[in-house]
């Protein structure tokens, strides 16, 4: 969910709940005030009636709102209010009244005063006020919602722009991260922090890259010394067992050095240190690579067949194209069986390299990971180099095991 959507939704929800509360509370408050007013009105009228009785000894009676009568002393009650209903003949409906009853002693006589006040108009008033209040609140809510939304958009606009920039930023690319300035302090602080952070990260990344490269290079020199020394040892008259030990040490050194070289290659591909050449005709590259392996193909008596229906061309560094297909073809031969098959299918859109091999399928998800290997002799880096080259050149590689083990490279559009 987007930030603004979230904010707006929260805002809307809170305001709706608030609106309901305010309306309910408002309604009751209004009612309370109006009832109070009504009572005050009644008391004022009572005072006027008392004056009338006291001065003129006149008992006013207006049906149904004023009723006064003389009573005996034993009928004296304290003042009380109650709600009653009367049938209004004009309006032809039941009407609610607030009835006030009081007994008083005026000029040594006892009187009962009943005053009634219609609640109908008060109720109508309450409803009218409440409704208009509600209407106003809803209107205010909608207006403020729209305004906030619009305001948020302008305020967050720069943030969104910067977010896009950060999204597109990559440590591999040479350009620096540039963020748009705003007049909002928090955003500027964020920008500043981000810029410092990326700068630091970039320099760390660079030194890490350099470290990997330098470390790999530094390892090669002692390896050379060991290897040359062992070669000197091998020139002496050695017993078979010592000879074999030296050879196996030498092989281990060779592996170490190859491993080192491959890791370096991977790092370089990742860092895009190979400049892209013009369109390379992959068919030619494959032809060339298959020729390199002639000796081994003959040795294993592998039947190589080309199925050509087009020319696959890619913008790639030539050396990388060689490494890519050298790895795939060498795998197809290495993991092949004697008298096996190697089918190379070339079209305009894809290249498939299929070979016979052991029956079990390779586990599809992990084969392209580093150090996933079939046996201890392999480095487990060949396919991850292949994958890395594909990834950096808009190519997709898939592995399928049908009758043959097939690696297919497709151009990503």
């Amino acid at each position: 969910m987007k930030f603004l959507t979230k904010i707006n939704r929260q805002y809307f929800l809170t305001y709706s709940i608030l609106l309901v509360f305010v309306s309910v509370i408002g309604y009751f408050l209004l009612r309370l005030i109006i009832i109070y007013e009504v009572k005050e009105d009644i008391l004022e009228k009572e005072y006027a009636i008392i004056q009338e009785i006291r001065n003129n000894n006149n008992l006013p009676n207006i049906y149904p709102i004023i009723k006064t009568k003389k009573i005996n002393e034993n009928e004296m009650r304290s003042a009380s209010y109650k709600k009653i209903f009367f049938y209004n003949e004009i309006e032809q409906e039941q009407e609610a009244y607030l009835e006030y009853t009081n007994t008083l002693k005026i000029n040594n006589s006892f009187y009962c005063i009943k005053l009634r006040h219609s609640l109908l108009e008060s109720n109508d008033l309450i409803m009218a006020i409440s409704l208009s209040l509600l209407l106003l609140l809803v209107l205010a809510l909608i207006v403020s919602f729209v305004i906030t939304k619009q305001m948020n958009k302008t305020v967050w606009n720069v943030f969104e722009v910067n977010l896009k920039k950060i999204e597109n930023f990559s440590f591999n690319k040479s350009f620096e991260l540039e963020l748009t300035e705003t007049d909002i302090d928090e955003f500027n602080t964020l920008n500043k922090t981000l810029l410092e952070l990326t700068k630091k990260l970039k320099s760390d990344y660079k030194s890490l890259k350099e470290f990997t490269e330098n470390a790999s290079h530094e390892i090669q020199t002692p390896l050379t010394i060991i290897s040359l020394t062992l070669d000197e040892v091998l020139q002496q008259d050695l017993s078979e067992s010592v000879f074999k030990q030296v050879i196996s040490t030498q092989k281990a050194i060779k592996r170490l050095s190859n491993l080192n070289e491959r890791l370096l290659l991977l790092t370089k591909i990742e860092n895009m240190q190979y400049p892209v050449d013009e369109q390379i005709n992959i068919n030619d590259v494959i032809d060339e690579q298959v020729k390199e392996f002639t000796a081994l193909i003959k040795h294993k008596n592998i039947d190589v067949s080309f199925i050509i229906s087009g020319t696959f061309k890619v913008k790639i560094n030539y050396i990388l194209a060689e490494i890519l297909f050298n790895n795939l073809i060498s795998n197809a031969i290495k993991h092949n069986i004697d008298n096996g098959k190697l089918n190379i299918i070339m079209t305009d859109e894809k290249i498939s390299i299929c070979n016979t091999g052991k029956n079990n399928s390779l586990t599809n998800s992990s084969i392209f990971h580093r150090f996933t290997k079939e046996n201890s002799q392999s480095y487990g880096l060949g396919l991850s180099i292949v994958k890395q080259i594909c990834d950096t050149h808009k190519l997709d590689i898939k592995y399928i095991k049908d009758k043959l083990h097939c690696f297919t490279i497709i151009r990503i559009k």
């Binding site: 290079h217 530094e218 090669q220 020199t221 390896l223 050379t224 010394i225 060991i226 290897s227 040359l228 020394t229 070669d231 000197e232 091998l234 020139q235 078979e240 000879f243 074999k244 050879i247 030498q250 092989k251 050194i253 060779k254 050095s257 190859n258 070289e261 370096l264 370089k268 240190q273 190979y274 390199e292 392996f293 000796a295 081994l296 003959k298 040795h299 050396i319 060689e322 050298n326 790895n327 060498s330 031969i333 290495k334 002799q377 392999s378 060949g382």
Partner: protein, 225 residues
């Protein structure tokens, strides 16, 4: 033949000079840029082995000096960096060859020989071992005067043995020399035996001696001793 070895790693410097001295080269050593520059300016060398990263300078700069002053020496760059840029730069600046560490001595010898031949320092283009004579220019092999046809790989292999005569060479080194490390086949070097067998058969057919001895099934040596 005079060789200048420029390398800051003393241990490696000694190994190289020991080996090359055994192969009848006259070696001079320089462990830093300053010494190397002085030697290059004063003496004449047939081949300079040049390490790129030196404590007080770059081998690339030494290469520039050599070419700028028209010093007629073959230059082989020895670098820990297999980086393509360095390689292209080195070769563009007039290096004759580029070797990446770790390298093998027979391979180094083969490359030095090839440079010497190209620069005609040797004065001839024949490599001889008893009755076997290889004419490098014509890519011809003769046994007691009779020509034998060898395939490209067989020819390369035989030449490699002839240049590194009396020296034990492992299968790995041969594979690396013939296939340029392009071929990653781990322990599966059996097919080298196929090529070697062909060479032996062809030499025997012309009644030549089989000088290539197998050592414990893991290495080979061209020897008449």
């Amino acid at each position: 033949m005079k060789v200048l070895i420029v390398e800051d790693e003393i241990e490696l410097l000694i190994r190289l000079s020991n080996y090359l001295t055994k192969e009848n080269y006259v070696c001079e050593l320089a462990a830093n840029y300053k010494t190397a520059k002085e030697k290059i300016m004063v003496y004449e060398y047939d081949v300079v082995l040049l390490d790129i990263t030196l404590p007080d300078g770059s081998g690339i700069d030494l290469l520039r000096i050599i070419r700028k002053n028209n010093i007629n020496a073959g230059v082989i760059i020895i670098s820990a960096k297999s980086s393509l840029d360095d390689k292209i730069k080195g070769l563009d600046l007039g290096a004759d060859d580029y070797m990446t560490k770790p390298f093998q001595l027979p391979e180094l010898n083969s490359r030095i020989k090839s440079i010497l031949r190209r620069h005609r320092f040797d004065g001839n283009n024949l490599v001889e071992f008893n009755e076997i004579i290889i004419d490098i220019d014509k890519k011809e092999v003769k046994i007691s005067g009779e020509e034998i046809f060898f395939t490209k790989k067989e020819y390369d292999m035989l030449l490699f043995f002839m240049i590194n005569k009396y020296r034990m060479i492992t299968k790995e080194i041969i594979a690396e020399h013939l296939w340029n490390d392009n071929i990653d086949l781990s322990d599966n070097y059996d097919f080298i035996y196929t090529h070697l067998n062909n060479i032996r058969q062809k030499i025997k057919a012309k009644e030549g001696n089989d000088y290539i001895k197998t050592i414990y099934g893991m290495g080979y040596k061209l020897t008449d001793k």
